[in-house]
Subunit: 467 residues, 2 copies
C-alpha cells in the first residue's frame, strides 16, 4: 500500500530509472561484462538527473552485484562466464602479474625497453639471411602460391616434411594427420573449440605458459593446476586432480617446459599416460620448443601413438614470429572436424607463410641455424645463470635447454614488486605468479637468456630487490 507513495517520491523513481537503464544496457550487452560504465558526471548529464542520483543508482547496482566498483577507476559491468575480461583471470588485480599484461608489454615495447621477461628470441638471433633468401625465392613462385588460399590441411610437402621430423622424435604421424595452422596458439585454440564445452575442466601445470590461462578463459573452461616438478607434473597430485575434477584435457609442454625448462622423465611420462588412459583424458602436448633440445626427451605423443595425445608445434620461436606457421598432429578421425573448424573460423591458411617455412626447412639452412642457436643459447644460459646467482637469484634447474631460466628470488622479495619497479626503469620482467594458477610463485621470475645480455638488467634487479 505504501508502494505508490514511494514511487511518487521523485528521488526514488529517478534512481530506479537510472538503475533500469543500466540493467537494460547490460542485458542487451551494450555494456558487456567488464565494460566501464559512463562516468557519474557524464551519465548524470545524459540522463538529465543530478550526480547524486547516479551515485546512488551505481551504489545500489554494485550492492546487488550488477556492477562492480574499482577504487580510483570507476564502475564496471559485472561478468559471469564471459570470456571478455581476460585481464581478470583469477584473483589478480595487479596488472604487473597479469599474464596478458606481460605479453602486451613485451609486444608493445619500444627499442629502449629491455625484455628479459619476454618469451621469444631477439630478431637478431633469427636466421635473417635465410629469411631474406626464402622471400626472394617465393617472389619467383607461381601465381597460386602468391595469391590463392591454402588447401584445407595446408601445403602437402610441408606436412610430409613435418611427418618426417616427428618420426625423428618417435612420433608416428602420417601427413594426412597433420593440419597446418597460423600459429601454435591457434592450434591449441582449435583443439579447445573441438574438445571443450563451456564449464569443462582443463588441467595445466603450475607454473605453466601464462597464455594457456587466457586462452582457456576465452573458452570458458574451468582451469585446475598441478605442481610441476623437475621431471614433470607431480604424479600423486595429478592422479588426485583426475579423480576430483574429471578434467577433459591436460595441456602441457613435455620436452622443454615453459617456464621452468624442466624435461619430462620417461617414468613420469609412462605413469601419466596410464592415468590418462584410465580416465579417458586427452592431452595436448605443446612442443613448440622441440628444436631447442640438446638430447631428445620423451614425447607423450610418441608413447601414445597419437591416440589420446595431440601434438602441436610451430616455427615462431626458432625461425620467425613474423611468418606465422604452426601445426597439429592429431588422431586421424579428428582432422576432418578440425579442418571444418579452421575453415569456419579463419577460412584458409597462410599459403605464403607455409611456403616460406618449407623453403627454409628444405635448403638445410634451418638445421644449420638451429645448431648455432643451441650453442649460442647454451653460452647465454651459462652467462645469465652466473650473473643471476651473483646477485642472489637462484635458477631452479641448473643449465636447462631452451631459452628460459626459472629463478627464485631471495627470501622476502616479491617478484611482482620487483617487476613493477623494473618496469619504471624500462625493463619488462615476467613475475612468477603470471604463470601460476595457484599464485604460489610470488618469489619466482622467468628469464629469457637471449634477452638478458644488458648490464642494466642486473643493476636494476639488484636495486629493485634492495628496495
Amino acid at each position: 500500500m505504501d508502494e505508490p507513495a514511494i514511487r511518487l517520491d521523485g528521488g526514488a523513481t529517478l534512481v530506479e530509472s537510472v538503475m533500469a537503464t543500466i540493467r537494460q544496457r547490460i542485458s542487451a550487452r551494450t555494456l558487456t561484462p567488464g565494460a566501464k560504465l559512463p562516468s557519474i558526471r557524464a551519465f548524470a548529464q545524459s540522463m538529465q538527473v543530478s550526480k547524486s542520483t547516479v551515485v546512488e543508482a551505481y551504489e545500489r547496482l554494485a550492492a546487488e552485484g550488477t556492477i562492480r566498483s574499482r577504487p580510483g577507476s570507476g564502475f564496471y559491468a559485472a561478468g559471469q562466464l564471459a570470456p571478455l575480461s581476460l585481464a581478470e583471470i583469477g584473483p589478480r588485480l595487479d596488472r604487473a602479474v597479469d599474464p596478458l599484461w606481460v605479453s602486451r608489454q613485451s609486444l608493445e615495447a619500444g627499442d629502449d625497453v629491455l625484455k628479459p621477461g619476454c618469451g621469444w628470441l631477439p630478431a637478431s638471433w633469427m636466421p635473417e639471411a635465410g629469411l631474406r633468401r626464402a622471400l626472394r625465392t617465393v617472389a619467383r613462385a607461381d601465381d597460386v602460391t602468391l595469391a590463392d588460399y591454402g588447401t584445407p590441411l595446408g601445403l602437402p610437402p610441408l606436412r610430409q616434411l613435418l611427418a618426417r621430423r616427428m618420426a625423428e622424435h618417435g612420433i608416428d604421424a602420417s601427413p594426412d594427420q597433420i593440419m597446418l595452422t597460423e600459429s601454435g596458439t591457434q592450434a591449441i585454440d582449435l583443439l579447445c573449440r573441438l574438445l571443450l564445452e563451456p564449464g569443462d575442466t582443463v588441467l595445466v601445470d603450475d607454473p605453466c605458459y601464462f597464455n594457456f590461462h587466457a586462452l582457456l578463459r576465452a573458452h570458458r573452461a574451468k582451469v585446475v593446476s598441478v605442481p610441476y616438478t623437475p621431471s614433470g607434473p607431480d604424479i600423486e597430485l595429478f592422479a588426485q586432480a583426475l579423480t576430483e575434477h574429471r578434467p577433459r584435457l591436460y595441456i602441457t609442454n613435455s620436452a622443454i617446459h615453459n617456464p621452468t625448462g624442466a624435461i619430462l622423465s620417461p617414468v613420469t611420462a609412462h605413469r601419466l599416460l596410464k592415468l590418462a588412459d584410465q580416465s579417458e583424458l586427452t592431452i595436448v602436448e605443446d612442443d613448440i620448443f622441440a628444436d631447442f633440445e640438446h638430447a631428445p626427451a620423451p614425447r607423450l605423443a610418441a608413447f601414445d601413438g597419437l591416440s589420446r595425445v595431440v601434438h602441436i608445434g610451430s616455427f615462431s620461436k626458432t625461425l620467425s614470429a613474423s611468418v606465422r606457421c604452426g601445426f597439429i598432429a592429431a588422431p586421424r578421425d579428428w582432422i576432418e572436424r578440425l579442418t571444418d573448424l579452421k575453415i569456419a573460423t579463419t577460412f584458409g591458411g597462410g599459403r605464403l607463410a607455409s611456403e616460406l617455412v618449407l623453403t627454409l626447412l628444405k635448403d638445410g639452412s634451418y638445421r644449420k641455424h638451429m645448431d648455432l642457436l643451441r650453442a649460442r643459447l647454451s653460452r647465454a644460459m651459462h652467462e645469465t645463470s652466473g650473473r643471476l646467482r651473483a646477485i642472489g637469484i637462484t635458477p631452479w634447474i641448473d643449465q636447462p635447454a631452451g631459452l628460459f631460466l626459472w629463478c627464485s628470488l631471495p627470501d622476502g622479495v616479491d617478484a611482482a614488486d620487483v617487476a613493477r619497479r623494473a618496469l619504471s626503469a624500462k625493463i619488462v620482467l615476467a613475475p612468477g605468479n603470471a604463470f601460476s594458477l595457484s599464485q604460489t610463485a610470488s618469489r619466482f621470475l622467468r628469464f629469457n637468456v637471449a634477452q638478458s645480455a644488458d648490464d642494466r638488467i642486473f643493476r636494476t634487479l639488484e636495486a629493485a630487490m634492495a628496495h
Copy 2:
C-alpha cells in the same frame, strides 16, 4: 523386485555393459559429438561379446538418442550444443548443399576442376607483379620485420592508411580504433568471442555468405535469418525478428552483398540503424568487397559513427588470399578487449603479411590493379550474364558490382541436383541453399563471373538441368 533376475540374464547385462562403455566414452568425450562409433565387428571383438550384443546396444543407444545411425555409414555419437559437427548445420544431410563442403571442394580442387561456385578470383587475376615486387622489397626489410611478432594492434602505418581509406567511405575511425587480424573471417570470429554468449541469437541475411552459418555454429549461437531484398534486408521482417528473437548481433555486407550482389539503399540503412538503436543491437558490417564498388554505397558504419556498428575488411579478395590480412574498426573501448582476445587465441599477428599489404597499398599499384580489375569484372559480368540467360538461368539483379551473379534456375530445376551432377563433371557450383538458413533458395545458384569463362561450365549446366 524383478531387477536382480533381469540383471542376472547374461544378455541384458552384456548389452548394458556395452551401452555403459559407450556412454562413458561420450561423457568423457573420447567419443566427441559427431564422432563415428567403432564398427560392430571391431567393438564386439574388443569387448569380447557377440556382434548381436553390440547391435542391440547400439540400437538401444540410438533409440534413447545417445547415438545416431546413418544408413550405410554406421553409428555416430549424438551432439548437443557442440560446435564440432559443423557439417551438420540445420537440416542439411546433403553434402552438395553443405556450406563447408562447398568451401572445401573449392579449396581442394585440382587444376582440372572448374570452380564457378567458389568465392574468390583466380590467382591469375591478382596483382602478380606487384606481389613479387612487394616480396622482394620486404626481403630487404629490417630484422624485426622479418622475424618478430607484430604489435598487438598491428603495423601502425597500415592502420593509418586504413583509417584514411575508411574516411573515403565516410567512416570516421582513428588508427587506434583499428586492429589488424589474419583475415576477415578471423575479425568476425574475434567479435563473436567478444560479444556472444552460447545460446545468444544472431541475425543474418537470407541468403548470406555461407561461412557465417558455420562460424556462428562454432560459437553455439542461435541463428535467425531475414530475407534480403535488392535494397537490403526486408525491414518489416527485420523489425519483427528484433521483437521476436531479441538478437545480440546482426552480421551483414552492406556494400556488395554476398551472394546476391545487392547494395543497401540509404533509406533501408537509415531505418535499419533506427531499429538497431531502439533494441540496442550491434551490427557487424563485413565490407570485404568494398573495393569492387563502382559507385560508393552507403556504409552503416558511416551513418552510425562506429558506435553500434563494427566495420571489418580484408585484402583476400582483391590482393592475395595467400598473404593473410584483415582488420576490424570498432568502438574505441572494445579495442583493448579485442586485443586481449587476439593475443589469447593467436598470440601475435602476421607482421610480414601486413608489411606486404602496406607495400602494395603505398606504391600505388593496388589502386591501378583495382581499376583494371573492376573493368575486367564488368566485362566478365556482362558476358557470364548473357551466357546464363541463353540457357535459361536468370540473374536476380542486372549487372551487379563485384564478382557474384545470384541466379535463378528454370522452374522445377533443383540447384542441389544440378550441383551434384556438375561435380561429377569436375565443376564446383554453389547451390542456393548453402546460403539460405530457411532453405528457400533451392532454385538459386551463385556464379563467380571471374571463374566462369570456360564453355564446359555452360554445356555441363545445360546437360545437368535437362537431366
